[in-house]
Symmetry: C2
Subunit: 412 residues, 2 copies
Amino acid sequence: MLDNTSERAGYHSPMVKPAPALVAGSVGTVETRYLDLPEPVRLDCGRDLHPIRVAYETYGTLSPRRDNVILVCHALSGDAHAAGFAKAPPEQSTRDGFGADDRDGTAGKGLGWWDGMIGPGKAFDTDRFFVVSTNLLGGCRGTTGPSSIDPATGRPYGPDFPVITVADMVRTERAFLDELGIERLAAVAGGSLGGMQALEWAILFPDQVDAVIAIASTHALHPQGMAWNSIARDSIMRDPAWQGGHYYGTGRVPDAGMGVARMVGHVTYLSAPALSDKFGRRLQSADDVRYTITEAEFEVESYLRHQADSFVKRFDANTYLYTSRALTYFDLARQHGGSLEQAFGGVSARTLLIAFSSDWLYPPSASTEIEQALGALGKPVECHVIDAPYGHDCFLLEEARQTPIIRRFLTG
Amino acid sequence: MLDNTSERAGYHSPMVKPAPALVAGSVGTVETRYLDLPEPVRLDCGRDLHPIRVAYETYGTLSPRRDNVILVCHALSGDAHAAGFAKAPPEQSTRDGFGADDRDGTAGKGLGWWDGMIGPGKAFDTDRFFVVSTNLLGGCRGTTGPSSIDPATGRPYGPDFPVITVADMVRTERAFLDELGIERLAAVAGGSLGGMQALEWAILFPDQVDAVIAIASTHALHPQGMAWNSIARDSIMRDPAWQGGHYYGTGRVPDAGMGVARMVGHVTYLSAPALSDKFGRRLQSADDVRYTITEAEFEVESYLRHQADSFVKRFDANTYLYTSRALTYFDLARQHGGSLEQAFGGVSARTLLIAFSSDWLYPPSASTEIEQALGALGKPVECHVIDAPYGHDCFLLEEARQTPIIRRFLTG
């Protein structure tokens, strides 16, 4: 019943895979690497975090002038493995039972979550660019997060991990690139929360970013989106196995609550018509309803449970909480005196915005608001709204139509 | 921060209360009564259920010819108290801690959930009609449901309660009205799941229903709606306190899971613009974010938690499961050989459909599909789509604009 592609992204679980944009190559087999930052990172909450390890992958070749770097930022449940085949799964979290054997068969080992966009001849063309992808701060796929060891106690941070922001993620990425000897970015790109990071880069480090590509993203999540994220977090925290966040090493993990969180998220990533087209009201059993409360009766019910079950095997609940909190906090106007124009006042990067007509979680209106604010300031910006039916997941699916837009923008 | 009206309906928790339609009276103080059916009701699942007690209220006066009866059917979390002030709270469930003292201050004692629509001079005019409202089969507000005592064991049914359908609810209402000596209905009316019951009445008992009023309802929930209901049920069943449904008398109830279910439901009852208008991205604290994962930071987060907390005090989790399952099963085409035309072939009632432009859970398209099927059969039907911003909750809020439509229809 389920497409294999549903899991390939290891991320938003796209449902339908359109044909690729053009004949393009693969970056081949890649390996996630790890780098320890030498200095603490000062966070928005006032704390200095140290040590910080960053998981990352790179694709393509760094030019001698180091001027061809594109940083790719992932969304809520992604990781550093953005392209190619993984040589080995990313470093294991300390989360109980979160081992390679349990992990979703495709999430850690298969194709990267944006493989259709990164590679020779693809949107982010590795014949030309050196593409860098990191697991974000607070993550559970190799970068320091709540499941990492707190040096003060020798045990995982859990809820003692500092509450982080999108700006903190960006500062960590900046410190990480310093260690790679990379000062400037030809572009920073991402979808959803990844697009938030891209926008934040242009504001925090205006002299070091030539171009921003923010896809299916926003300057501030709308209240209904905040509500869904709040419900997802509450679902995790209401699970008694969460234990106030101190579940590591207890043999109990809040899989029940995180499964519900994932199901809520999953429905918000899809459009209602996409769910109708894929499942309709088809029953699981061939003939008629079976009069059961506990069993899945309809295909859509079974599909959601599958999404929940596979997600909890590869993701840490505290990372979900911290990342969801960061994307809910993100509000460029609030962070800059109340207006988007003030937020973007110092931006020098060219900006490309892409939104999708059926995305109701990060609707096109958010992108056009950004376009208008940048335009009012005379900043170079272009915004494309792609008419596509899959909802927020389009940014993982609509490679064919994003590719020429991005390639042209990066040439400009 | 919260409108008192948010709780008054005891049901969908409307957020904003428009001005009443016209100066109309109240039905005054009313008392919920109880009636035990003398015979078992044969259910769709094949089981005979007995005994069945039905909680009900009546408003207005039965005409000597008994030809002025309107049956009002409630939605997922409603009860028999549809209008007037409650003289006493409905009979207590056996659910632990589910006593009058815990119950939401307004839900059981205050105004009925459709008080703005039922009364002298109102849409359902008690100067003319005898309005009957029952708690549906499977309920937890006086009518027999999973929290009732199973005569076979002397303990609450819990998960041994038979899985019920909308048709079973209607058969129970039919048997109940028999006991009241009421053979014909001048009309049967309801919103959401209540509208499903109204449509089912016209199909099951075509010779006994003169008119159907189905508001913000559908002939079959769309797949995204099925997904939300599935998530809500899974949230309850994943709560360890649910204990496979055998939580009565254990001192533990699945409030955590049902709270999440309610929050999911609540967001689906509202439109995204309504949430934006009401809360925006306003912080709970006056100045800035407080860097907290566990505390509500935004007003919308606090509001949802309040909705969850007040709901679990007045509602039984198993009733939620059974009722949600029934409304997910409801599919008039599937139940009648695959087509709506077949389903409606025997209908003789006039039908009034009302939908709301911003209702994305029971969208106007569902009502127009019903209108087209009835129209193709030459059945008398009218469909009104009201342009209103509050989402599915409009059927509880938009009294002013529903009233003239319903009054005119009932005169016709």
